[in-house]
């Protein structure tokens, strides 16, 4: 009897290195009986052991055992073998027998874990047909090389991918091999995934690190969300690959907030707009946010005019929220005009600067006072705008911007026709419970996105 754990490991590594289509078998004789492990490579080249405990019939004859299983070697894990198992031990010129206290399965898994890849591993990615070729610009599914054959566990590689906005099932990260039939061009070889995970990730570029954990398992690290099991099968994912990306224009959310009145009313408006920004942020599209604050016009020479204040412009959600919060705590002047606010001038300011260059505009106004009229109005007796601005043409200038949507988060006692116009597509009362998901959906901020199941690689 020869052997020890190290020799068993070495023998298994030798067998794995030689492993081809027919596979190999090793046997373990122990106190409770005999077990054989049949090892074959799967379609990805990963050694897969199959265990079989031998029954009394299998142990019926020495020759029959060797004809049936032809083990490359036998590991004995106990000195006291049952008689029917001892009878199966080979003669001096037979297969090697190792005295190995560690279970053979443990040795086998360790050897497989340390074995090199025999097929290259790739990440399923989307690419576009390059310009100048037939179907230029069309999207197709392909593989991006991660690990070539011969690589062992612990190897790592960084990959920059770009995630497009997609639906709620997120982006799938599939590791695969190719069916390397020599009669098929590489680009046409079948992609065979062995690991599919997914996560809802922010749209944009992400650098991931692929770490070879063992043959048949790759760790994908560095993404902003934890990957989990994909809810979709490979076939489903493949069927969702679009030929082209639908227009997923980014959105420019403009929050127009009235600062008039007491701080309690103002905080309500701030809170509601914060909720909306948060809702829009999960809308799986690129989002830019602007915040503009407006108050009343100065009603008298002795009152200082409070100009329209741009708290944030084309900013991130976080910057916009910070801009909103800075408005809290405003102390109104006793001489402040109480019956209107310079909404007409705020609209003029926005109309002068807002374009669809940075995304589909969505204008949401939080407040409740009417605009100052353009001129004397003996019905309402509202003091006119000192610049004689008329809100109607300013609103109309905005309304012709492609795709623009208008939402109003109105105070309970809102007044003026302007609020009907500003709430054209969505409206809610700030001091009621607002279903912000519905509100955002009405403005197209939560538009169901086109599924783009895999990341792009540029």
């Amino acid at each position: 009897m020869i052997g020890d754990d190290e020799k068993v490991h070495g023998a298994l590594c030798d067998e794995l290195a030689r492993l081809n289509g027919t596979g190999f078998t090793v046997a373990e004789f122990g106190a409770t009986g005999a077990t054989v492990f049949r090892v074959r490579r799967d379609e990805h080249g990963t050694p897969q052991p199959k265990l079989r405990r031998l029954t009394a019939a299998d142990l019926a004859g020495h020759d029959a055992f060797y004809r049936a299983y032809a083990p490359a070697f036998i590991a004995t894990t106990s000195a006291g073998l049952p008689a029917e198992v001892s009878e199966l031990l080979p003669g001096a010129d037979g297969v090697p027998v190792y005295d190995c206290p560690t279970p053979l399965e443990t040795h086998l898994l360790a050897a497989i874990r340390d074995s090199p890849l025999v097929l290259g591993y790739e990440l399923a990615v989307l690419k576009r047909v390059p310009a100048g070729r037939s179907g230029a610009g069309r999207i197709y599914l392909s593989g991006h090389h991660l690990f070539p054959p011969g690589v062992r566990r612990g190897d790592r590689v960084k990959v920059m991918v770009r995630c497009e906005p997609t639906d709620g099932d997120g982006t799938a990260f599939a590791v695969l091999t190719r069916d390397q039939r020599p009669d098929v061009a590489p680009n046409s070889q079948e992609l065979r995934p062995f690991q599919i995970q997914s996560a809802v990730l922010p749209a944009g570029s992400h650098e991931l690190t692929a770490v070879l954990d063992r043959p048949g398992h790759v760790l994908l690290e560095g993404l902003p969300a934890q990957l989990g099991t994909s809810a979709r099968s490979w076939n489903e994912l493949c069927s969702l690959v679009p030929q082209q990306l639908a227009a997923q224009d980014p959105v420019h959310l403009v929050c127009l907030i009235e600062v008039c009145g007491g701080d309690q009313d103002l905080r309500l408006r701030i809170d509601r707009l914060e909720e909306l920004i948060s809702e829009a942020e999960t809308g799986a599209r690129q989002l830019l946010v602007s915040v503009i604050a407006y108050g009343p016009h100065a009603v008298a020479w002795s009152v200082t005019e409070e100009p329209i204040a741009v708290q944030a412009w084309l900013a991130s959600s976080a910057e916009a929220v910070a801009g909103l919060r800075r408005l809290a705590g405003r102390r109104p002047d006793e001489r402040e005009y109480r019956r209107a606010a310079q909404l007409e001038c705020a609209l003029r300011e926005i109309a002068a600067h807002l374009t669809d260059d940075y995304g589909r505009p969505v204008l949401v106004t939080a407040g409740g006072r009417p605009a100052h009229p353009r001129a004397l109005d003996t019905d309402t007796l509202l003091i006119p705008c000192p610049d004689w601005v008329n809100w109607v043409p300013e609103f109309n200038r905005l309304a012709v911007l492609p795709g623009i949507a208008f939402g109003a988060l109105r105070d309970r006692r809102w007044r003026g026709d302007i609020w009907q116009a500003l709430g054209r597509d969505a409206r809610a009362t700030v001091d009621d419970a607002v279903n912000m998901t519905d509100f955002a959906a009405d403005l197209g901020l939560l538009q169901v996105a086109q599924p783009v199941p895999f990341p792009f690689i540029d």
């Binding site: 009603v299 008298a300 020479w301 002795s302 006793e334 001489r335 402040e336 005009y337 109480r338 353009r374 001129a375 004397l376 109005d377 003996t378 007796l381 003091i383 006119p384 000192p386 004689w388």
Partner: protein, 321 residues
């Protein structure tokens, strides 16, 4: 050049409902003389009158606030003085120029609106008011068309007072049923958009191209037309009885109508002129107090006072520049 001074104490009483602008009118009076008739000077002889004049003036000009409504009767002894150059023939070939100082004591009574009402008959302040009205030579009557539009109680406030005056006057021998006073009926708040719009629709706004602020005015000859129109739209429709009441119990030739604005029109801060799209110069704040929006430039405040003074003191009757 010689100097002579004539003095008279005509006594001018003010009438009008609560909030009709009596105190504001008085507060604007000195500003109006300063801006429009600098040859007239207004001052006082007693501390109470001084306090009242300075208080009202400061509130309007410096603080942009309105004088608080009067409670009871405030009586101010204010003195109006002007110097007039006169040239008189003193012989066949000789003339002499001398300056005549005309000094008029204004005994202005500003009663609270409450004590003018019919429900106040017999009270002590009420009796003092009737006595003051009866002994005054002129009456400034403030007709607030906006108040009339809302409350419509001008007739109620005026009728019983006039009847009380008749009762007093009837004790004098030879009373012919008409009170002897001169009455300046001032239609107030021309800057209010509703009054202004009505005037514009009646085409009674007289535009002086040389006015530095571009203010229009309503000529005295058109004032009654505007008053009639404003009375038509008053709440209870009785407002037109008020001028008729005056015309019935006062001599028609001693009644004159004025359209006034104590604080004047809103002056646009950028153009420094009136813009007809925003005329009102008053804003009522959350506290209920009113704020003057732009500098005070009274409209037709000097004119009714000057007319009453000139009627009482003929020597003061010199055309204003």
């Amino acid at each position: 050049m010689t100097d002579a001074t004539s003095r008279s104490e005509p006594g001018i009483a003010m009438l009008g409902a609560t909030g009709s602008g009596k105190s504001t009118f008085l507060g604007a009076l000195q500003i109006a003389f300063t801006l429009q008739a600098r040859d007239w000077r207004l001052w006082w002889r007693d501390a109470a009158s001084r306090e009242a004049l300075i208080g009202m003036n400061t509130a309007l000009v410096s603080e942009g606030k309105f004088p608080l409504p009067t409670s009871g009767i405030d009586t101010f002894d204010w003195i109006l003085r002007r110097e007039v150059e006169r040239t008189e023939r003193t012989g066949w070939f000789r003339t002499q120029t001398f300056t005549e100082s005309v000094e008029v004591t204004l005994k202005l009574a500003d009663p609270s609106g409450e004590i003018t009402g019919s429900g106040q008959q017999g009270g002590d302040p009420r009796e003092r008011l009737v006595e003051h009205l009866t002994t005054s030579q002129g009456i400034l009557y403030m007709f607030d068309p906006i108040r009339e539009h809302k409350d419509g109680d001008a007739y109620d406030k005026t009728y019983s007072l006039v009847m009380d005056m008749i009762t007093e006057a009837a004790r004098e021998p030879g009373f012919d049923g008409k009170l002897p006073h001169h009455v300046a009926i001032c239609v107030t708040k021309l800057d209010d958009p509703r009054v202004f719009k009505t005037a514009a629709e009646l085409d009674v706004l007289d535009w002086d191209e040389d006015h530095p602020l571009g203010f229009p005015r309503v000529l005295d000859s058109d004032a009654r037309v505007l008053l009639d129109k404003l009375c038509e739209i008053s709440r209870n429709g009785n407002a037109d009885v008020v001028p008729k009441l005056f015309e019935q119990y006062f001599h028609a030739g001693r009644i004159r109508y004025y359209v006034t604005s104590s604080v004047g029109f809103m002056v646009n801060k950028r153009t420094r002129r009136l813009d007809v799209r925003d005329t009102e110069n008053v804003y009522r704040m959350a506290s209920g107090r009113s704020l003057v929006r732009s500098p005070v430039h009274p409209v037709n405040v000097v004119e009714p006072v000057r007319w009453l003074v000139e009627r009482s003191v003929p020597s003061a009757r010199v055309p204003l520049p």
